[in-house]
């Protein structure tokens, strides 16, 4: 979906109104991936950069942003474009409460009896097969320490862990 001039203007306005703190976090995330100090990162690193800047995005959303981040399709994203994209992502992001609720809902979808627990095995199955699949290794890392002796996970704990950073 191409970004309209109006949206871009709004994003820039949003950016200007930001308290400096946000932009610092974005710049820091960008700089860490800009290993050569050239003021640009590889397009393949866009997702990583945005996530380090605390955005929650799916791969598809990243791809969408990628088009704006690299308008001349040079394979690299310069800092100003990155900041614009970050500002837009911020404008479209949910508040922490909304996120917490959304995550809860997501787990409830799988927890038909609303027991507050899910079987770790099942969870692994869903997350490695549906949507944008994770690797089994990643799910194991995500659940480490949260699985009780019956193989169940209290997913509230998982929500807390994921939302902490």
């Amino acid at each position: 979906m191409p970004i309209t001039a109006k949206q871009k203007g709004r994003a820039t306005q949003q950016r200007r109104k930001q308290p400096p703190a946000d932009e610092e976090v974005w710049k820091a995330a960008f700089k860490r991936l800009d290993k050569r100090g050239r003021g640009a990162i590889a397009i393949g690193d866009l997702g990583e950069a945005l996530r380090r800047a605390k955005f929650v995005l799916s791969e598809e959303e990243v791809q969408d942003y990628a088009k704006d981040a690299d308008p001349d399709a040079s394979g690299t994203v310069e800092l100003p474009n990155f900041l614009t994209v970050a500002a837009r992502a911020k404008a479209e992001t949910l508040s922490p409460e909304q996120w917490a609720q959304a995550l809860d809902e997501a787990f409830l979808t799988f927890d038909k009896v609303e027991a507050g627990r899910l079987k770790a095995e099942d969870l692994q199955g869903w997350l490695t097969q549906l949507g944008e699949p994770l690797e089994a290794k990643e799910v194991a890392q995500m659940l480490r320490g949260l699985v009780d002796e019956n193989g169940m996970v209290v997913y509230q704990d998982l929500v807390k862990r994921l939302a902490k950073l």
Binding site: E24, A28, R52, K54, D64, E105
Partner: protein
Amino acid sequence: MGCGPSSSADDDSEQQQQPLQKQQKDDGKKHGKQKRSKSPQTGGKDVTDASVEALSIKSALLIQKWYRRYKARLEARRRTTWMIYQSIEYSSEASQLHLLQTESSPQQPQQQHLSPAGSGDPANNRFAERLRQKSLEEEDQELLELTSYEGIQVEKSYRGPHLSFPLSASHVQVLIDSFRQGTQLHSRYLLQLLHEARLLLKTKPNVYQASTSISRQVTVVGDLHGKLDDLLVIFYKNGLPDVTNPYVFNGDFVDRGANSVETAALLFACCLLVWPSAVFINRGNHEDHLMNCRYGFIKEVQAKYKTPANKIVRLFGDTFSWLPLATNIDDKILVTHGGISDKVDMERVQKLDRHQYLSALKPPVSDNENAKVDYKEWRQVLDLLWSDPKPQAGCAPNTFRGGGCYFGPNITEAFLRKHKFSLLVRSHECKPDGWEFCHGGAVLTLFSASNYYEDGSNKGAYAKFDAEGKPHIVQYMASKARKLPVGRRLSTVEEGALKDLRAKVIASKTELTAAFQRFDPDKTGSIRLADWCEAMEQTLRLGLPWRTLRPHLAQLAKDGRLLYMTSFDCVSIQTKLGASAGKEVAGSLTEAVYKNKEELETIFRIMDKDNSGQISLDEFQESCRVLTQATGRQMTEAEVGDMARSMDLNSDGYIDFNEFLEAFRIIDTRKRQEDAAGAQGGSSG
């Protein structure tokens, strides 16, 4: 013995260790346009299968998105922690080198302060003399006398491993088993071992020639730093060395870790002696008497061996200087500890006399007045053992470390082309995954000491090269920290790094306070965040992301300005030394000594001629005088005298400086306050 799950990674390409974009496996799962702003839908009760499936997918997607962000944030935090440790480590190395260079010889190529110390002052002359080299015959003779094992008896009560020469493979197994149980090798056997190893090393050229023609493979191991656990993990996973399984050990197997003696003994002497054509040990910057003074190897030897410690230290020092500088595999791969520079020339390296560099940090100064120091030659050794690669082109002096160069991709390319190599393998830098390619795959860094900074800080890795020179990298982590979930493991490492950082802050309290106050002429007690960052960097010169670290180091006022004195709140230096000097003076003196603790220790050890762990009061005062000159920090005679007397607990004129070093400790003020509050039972401010 922990041997962790290993994940092997074949990677010929450059730095990409981030997860790449994942393609969606099944396009059929994409349902039209995905809404970007997600208002949670609660329609989970729909009848049709299709929409239930759609909902499951959406939910899974949400959880996955969150996980990906969590993972990226963890990585960001890890890198920050990393930078703290690394910068503290390197700045400590740099100050070490600075100290040695200003103190000893009259002139060097890389120094910045010409000190008149060489002339006249008796304290410095004695210091300089201790570092001077002697002629080869003199030295060999003297060495053989000083480090003889003949007179040492092995007691009947000795329960450790027994060795007989020539060694065989079964001895190696005996050593491994004994070391694993924590028993120590008798000093007589250790000395004998070292003598044999030294004789063998003397016959080796400066650059080993290794070949995969028989074995069809070779394994390269990086820094071990006295971590016996890691070495045993490697032998467990990869097998002991023999003609079909050759090994290259790329230096730095002593210092810092708790088992440097055992690691060196195992590697050094046994493998070298039992399989001499299959084990290649390169010299690292820590195989160096002067480095060992500071970084723990000598301390370990003294603690473990007491009386014969002196002999052992001397012999190790000499043996290290006979270690070759690099290994050439199949004329295709060069393995050396640090790296290269624009001046390194392999032909030159082949021809030089490596033994005269007892310490790579000092050029050899002979008694013969007319002999000149060959700086160009010294440079070769220094660059090979101390350099680091950098992403920008060119070659610059490595000011961070204080020795060697930073070399860029163009330097690597020219070097490889000139000598017809296809890969440079080096170590010297700790990497979170234990390995890293750079310069477009032309340089491979291998670091084999896992948990180097802290439990859980990094993995170790080694590489197996096949006959075509293609590497297969194996990672491992030898510790209990593996069982913690990643987030918690990171917090432990982070806390450790922050503690070290706070210690540094406290040690520079006087300077920092002055720097802060420069930004606060009206003495309001607060300054801008940006000013605080600048002051921190100017004073400490660690190159860290101060803004990001601020929440862990200092508090903000309600108006967003920074209350700079809160930077010192978390810790304070506690000392057992007498409070006789009065509070104010004691404060800055304590700081001065704490900050220079490492320098003091180094000087002490150099002055402690018989490696006994004790020096006389006079020698101590001399050391402090030398330190004052080196660092420009003033300590009055009275202060020095005070300190000396308060440490000489039994008033016999000698100071046990191991005790002195323990006399300074950093305590966590916050914790103390909490404990105190808790003890009082009620709520207190």
